[in-house]
């Protein structure tokens, strides 16, 4: 039963974060690129003030998979690195914690460019 609830909350919170972005797209002149930047920075700030951690505990991937979760990982990584290494952690922690996703994106993108070609839309 607990598992089912995990999934329901992941769906609801993840979906909810997307809905907020959709409202911003439809109702403001913000471009998708700006919204993504907003989300990442918001993730960092919310983590910093201690709000995002509890949301991750509660919603799991519903909070980590959206781009605010990318901000959360950056901030958590910095925090951990500062604990371990001091001030230099502010520079090393963020990308270390998010390196898997970013590197995967680069590697898969490069492979895609080697193997595939874009097609007309529609």
């Amino acid at each position: 039963m607990d598992k089912i609830l995990d999934y329901i909350w992941a769906f609801a919170i993840g979906g909810g974060l997307c809905v907020i972005a959709q409202i911003l797209i439809d109702k403001t002149k913000l471009t998708p690129a700006r919204i993504l930047v907003l989300y990442v920075v918001a993730g960092v700030i919310l983590t910093g003030i201690g709000l995002y951690g509890p949301l991750v505990d509660f919603a799991g991937c519903g909070a980590t998979v959206p781009l605010t979760g990318f901000g959360y990982s950056l901030a958590e990584g910095v925090k951990k690195a500062i604990d371990e290494r001091g001030l230099i952690g502010a520079l090393t922690g963020g990308l270390t914690a998010t390196s898997a996703g970013v590197t995967a994106a680069m590697v898969f993108a490069w492979l895609a460019a080697v193997l595939f070609k874009g097609k007309p839309k529609g």
């Binding site: 797209i25 002149k29 998708p32 874009g118 097609k119 007309p120 839309k121 529609g122």
Partner: protein, 340 residues
């Protein structure tokens, strides 16, 4: 100094035209009008820019074929497109043994080419010229918006760049139809900076040119069998009709927009309609010109609009100036109001 309507006393002929399009255009309501097509949109070329050039080459060759011309029969080509520095025209029309003028009027380029070409034929400087323009959805998306595979939602006011190219051959007065008058446009900027609503950015230019035409000529919209605008789309067209009505010119009965004709908005997910240099060009060469030849249309205004922007100007938040050039095309031999 001449600032208004330019009457072409010799009435140069539009001898023939040819159009080349891609898949989405072949799915649209005008599919059977076009001469050539490639459902892969590639025209067997490795890059989209080269595909667009190839369309121009095919369109020009097809137009010459239809008119029975060889390249030495064409004194000059007036051509343009949307890709930086007009490379589609430069490459597409390279190695044709004739004089070449590269033009940029954004989506108004076909009208601009017709205006300039017909004026030079009327003046006797040239006896036969070609107007060639193109746009390709993929090369335009790449340059102006996002990568082709990028997953984004388009706003409802956005327009869809037509994959197409057309060539029209203008010569000394012979076969109908004839270009009787032209009215070059003025650049109008009414402060619109949303590149996803180009219809609204271009409408003021169309309003300006049409109003100047009606004011000076004393003609009424209903004197024409049709008034074709280039690619104002749904947004721009309704703005145009509204504003001209408040100026005392009701064009609603005779107005058609090529951007709304080329696609089925209900079915084809093109939002506010088609756009691009290939939009009004292919509709003109494939749909309008044949009807003039058959005298189903007798006297029309062809007015194409362009949004004069680039990616830097848009990112800098600058406003989008619009332009609209007008040509009056008729099947009548001479005297106004008398259909031959």
């Amino acid at each position: 100094m001449q600032k208004g309507i330019i009457t072409l006393t010799s009435r140069p002929s539009i001898i023939c035209g040819a159009s080349v399009v891609g898949k989405k255009e072949m799915d649209g309501p005008l599919a059977r009008c076009f001469d050539k097509y490639d459902l892969t949109d590639t025209f067997d070329m490795p890059t989209w820019e080269q595909s667009e050039s190839e369309m121009q080459r095919i369109a020009f060759n097809t137009a010459m074929e239809k008119g029975g011309f060889k390249i030495h029969d064409i004194d000059a080509i007036f051509a343009g497109d949307l890709i930086n520095q007009c490379i589609s025209s430069g490459y597409g029309l390279a190695n044709f043994d004739t004089q070449f003028f590269g033009l940029f009027g954004a989506c108004s380029t076909m009208a601009e080419s017709l205006v300039l070409g017909s004026m030079l034929v009327d003046s006797g400087k040239y006896s036969r010229v070609a107007a060639v323009t193109s746009s390709h959805n993929c090369s335009a998306e790449r340059q102006f918006r996002f990568p082709l595979e990028y997953g984004g939602q388009r706003t409802p006011t956005a327009q869809w760049t037509v994959t197409g190219s057309a060539a029209v051959i203008i010569g000394e007065h012979s076969d109908l139809p004839y270009i009787a008058e032209v009215l070059p446009g003025r650049v109008c900027d009414k402060g619109i900076n949303d590149s996803a609503n180009m219809g609204a950015a271009m409408a003021p230019a169309a309003i300006d040119t049409l109003k100047r035409y009606f004011d000076e000529s004393g003609k009424k919209p209903d004197d024409f069998s049709a008034i074709f605008t280039g690619d104002l789309g749904y947004e721009g067209s309704s703005i145009l009709v509204d504003f001209l009505r408040s100026d005392g010119y009701d064009i609603s009965r005779v107005h058609h927009d090529c951007g709304l004709m080329i696609y089925d908005r209900e079915r084809q997910d093109v939002h506010a309609g088609g756009s691009g240099c290939g939009c009004c060009a292919t509709v003109f060469a494939g749909h309008i010109l044949p009807q003039l030849k058959e005298k189903k249309l007798k006297d029309i205004l062809f007015i194409a609009t362009g949004a004069m922007m680039n990616t830097a100007s848009i990112q800098q938040g600058l406003t989008i100036p619009g332009i609209a050039h007008l040509a009056r095309i008729t099947v009548s031999e001479g005297d106004d109001g008398q259909n031959s």
